[in-house]
């Protein structure tokens, strides 16, 4: 069984804060360590299968955003979660695409939805929204009904007439 303390034998100054995903282990780690930790758990512990990455808005003054990585070991059938947090004023998180190339689109999606910038990502564009969209729709301060005028509508439609 994998335990996060095992990483300490490869990375002596590794610190983490455990969290629980209903029975699965997870660790909140400092964001500047994420690439080192990712490389160690992939190469030394066999967590080769990148399942998912998601952003989340905690809506707190400090460390507002977080990115959660969902990684699996296909041999031992174990699953772990990693979490890094970043502040609203400093939205940078190191990209793990160089370690798991499967993270590519998931990081693009997190950038699209929350505006988290993944340093070192090869192609950080919006995933779903138009490239000229100015907002980050899954943030808690983005209204459910959208922002009027943020997406240009065809000329002549009722909405466009009302705006003029």
């Amino acid at each position: 069984m994998f335990a996060f303390d095992d990483i300490k034998s490869y990375l002596p100054d590794f610190t983490y804060e455990p969290f629980d995903v209903t029975g699965t282990i997870g660790a909140i780690i400092p964001r500047e360590k994420i690439r080192d930790v990712a490389r160690i758990i992939k190469e030394q512990f066999g967590f080769t299968n990148f399942v998912d990455a998601l952003g989340a808005d905690r809506n707190e003054r400090k460390m507002r955003f977080e990115v959660i990585y969902n990684i699996r070991n296909l041999q031992t059938k174990e699953r772990i979660f990693l979490k890094v947090r970043c502040d609203e004023r400093d939205l940078h998180v190191p990209s793990v695409v160089s370690i798991w190339s499967g993270a590519n689109w998931h990081e693009r999606e997190a950038f699209d939805m929350y505006g988290i910038i993944f340093d070192g990502h090869p192609d950080l564009r919006r995933m779903y929204m138009p490239d000229d969209f100015e907002y980050f729709p899954l943030r808690k301060d983005f209204p459910l009904m959208g922002v009027e005028g943020s997406i240009p509508l065809p000329k002549g439609s009722e909405f466009a007439v009302r705006m003029n």
Partner: protein, 422 residues
């Protein structure tokens, strides 16, 4: 002024896509012969062979693809945002619209994830019915994939035959759930109504007929020189790259990795059932087709075992704070009326925390990552959709293929854009 702005805005995304394409290798050699040069071809989003609104921008050298970029988001409806603004129950109809080829399996996946968050387990009869539903959905999806792939390479008859079988499945869903297509059958802690003996008879008849139908489809395709010739040896995904890019489901198993959540991270009553995990080692489009085709027979086996195990019993978990009361109880009992009012208006309140649960859907691992803040609506509801991740490998397997292979390769991935775009 405004018009100019709109034109600028419209052309900006295209510019970025082309820039992204060109950034890979910008050296273009112009020769005397105008047919010798590289060209960029836009395929989709409205294209009959892209199975929805997938857009692929191809960079061609003659007929060979030397680079490609996928564009998603033409069917983005913001389901994750919607989920944050409604109760857990209200989101169930939306799960039907994700993978609309197998809606009932999405219901199962979502309800299992929410039940895991709320620490509820449904009774045995409900678990068996859920397995039957999930496997019927898998048959429906795999038949569609086989038929559509045949149609993509020119075998139109197979598509009509698979649709004929799926029509029988829709009749079963109609009897079972009351709707043919968007079923919304599952409830948190149970399901809308019990399975009837009429429905069980229909399922048995369907399974008996399906064996003959798959034999016919196999006879049509498996010795068909055109079909084999079009699909064999294209879209090759080596096993290590399949793992690296995050593939799951038939795509991963066709690359020789035997991994199936039903066996390896079991849920419901799958540990009790006897079935094989179909694995192929050819890694190409044809192998992905055969994995799906053989999985239909395994699903038939699973459903037959489930029907044998089906015993009378409750289909709802016993927890009045989570499970919706029955309609007849609401109108006769005060307590149930209050519970119904609270559950419909404010939703179930799971404990604070996070949970992840995934099932082996027809396309791969379909999971929900739910973050709860202790109120009736999820704080974050992330859909891990298999089609999205499978499409991520498309650019990789398209490289070096011929332009006529593109439709067959996309067909072999079986992407459903409702799920990939969320």
């Amino acid at each position: 002024m405004l018009e100019q702005e709109l034109i600028d805005r419209k052309s900006a995304p295209k510019q970025k896509i082309i820039e992204a394409l060109l950034s890979k290798d910008t050296s273009v050699t112009l020769s005397e012969d105008s047919l010798d040069n590289e060209m960029i071809l836009n395929m989709g989003p409205q294209h009959p062979a892209t199975h929805g609104v997938l857009r692929v921008v191809l960079r061609l050298d003659g007929e060979t693809i030397i680079g490609s970029e996928c564009e998603l988001g033409y069917l983005h409806r913001g389901y994750e945002k919607l989920a944050e603004n409604m109760t857990f129950h209200e989101f169930i109809p939306h799960t039907d619209r994700l993978d609309y080829i197998s809606p009932i399996a999405n219901n199962v996946a979502y309800c299992l994830a929410v039940e895991k968050l709320m620490h509820v387990e449904v009774p045995r009869r409900a678990q068996i019915i859920r397995v039957i539903c999930a496997e019927l959905a898998r048959i429906s999806s795999h038949l569609m994939a086989a038929g559509a792939m045949g149609m993509d390479v020119g075998a139109l008859t197979v598509f009509v035959w698979t649709m004929r079988e799926r029509e029988k499945l829709y009749d079963i869903f109609d009897i079972l759930t009351g709707a043919r297509f968007t079923v919304s059958y599952m409830r948190i802690g149970g399901m809308a109504q019990d399975i009837t003996s009429e429905c069980i008879t229909m399922i048995k008849d369907f399974l008996d007929g399906l064996t003959e139908a798959t034999r016919e489809i196999g006879a049509m395709l498996h010795k068909n020189r055109i079909f084999i010739g079009r699909c064999e040896g294209i879209g090759i995904m080596p096993p290590d790259e399949a793992i690296d890019v995050g593939w799951t489901g038939p795509g991963l198993r066709a690359s020789g990795i035997s991994y199936d959540l039903r066996r390896d991270e079991p849920y419901l009553i799958y540990p009790e059932l006897d079935f094989n995990v179909i694995t192929r080692t050819e890694c190409d489009a044809l192998a992905r087709y055969f994995v799906r085709f053989d999985e239909v027979a395994e699903s038939v086996k699973i459903i037959r075992q489930c029907l044998d195990k089906l015993q009378p019993g409750p289909i709802y978990a016993e927890d009045a704070k989570i499970v919706l009361p029955r309609k007849d109880e609401i109108y006769t009992s005060m307590e149930e009326l209050i519970n119904d009012f609270v559950l419909v208006n404010f939703g179930q309140a799971p404990p604070k925390g996070e949970s992840y649960h995934a099932i082996e859907a027809s396309k791969g691992e379909l999971g929900w990552y739910l973050i709860s803040d202790g109120t009736g609506t999820p704080w974050r509801s992330k859909i891990r959709s298999p089609s999205f991740v499978n499409l991520q490998g498309l650019s990789r397997i398209l490289e070096g293929a011929m332009i006529s292979d593109v439709v067959a390769i996309i067909g072999s991935l079986d992407p459903i854009m409702g799920e990939a775009d969320k």
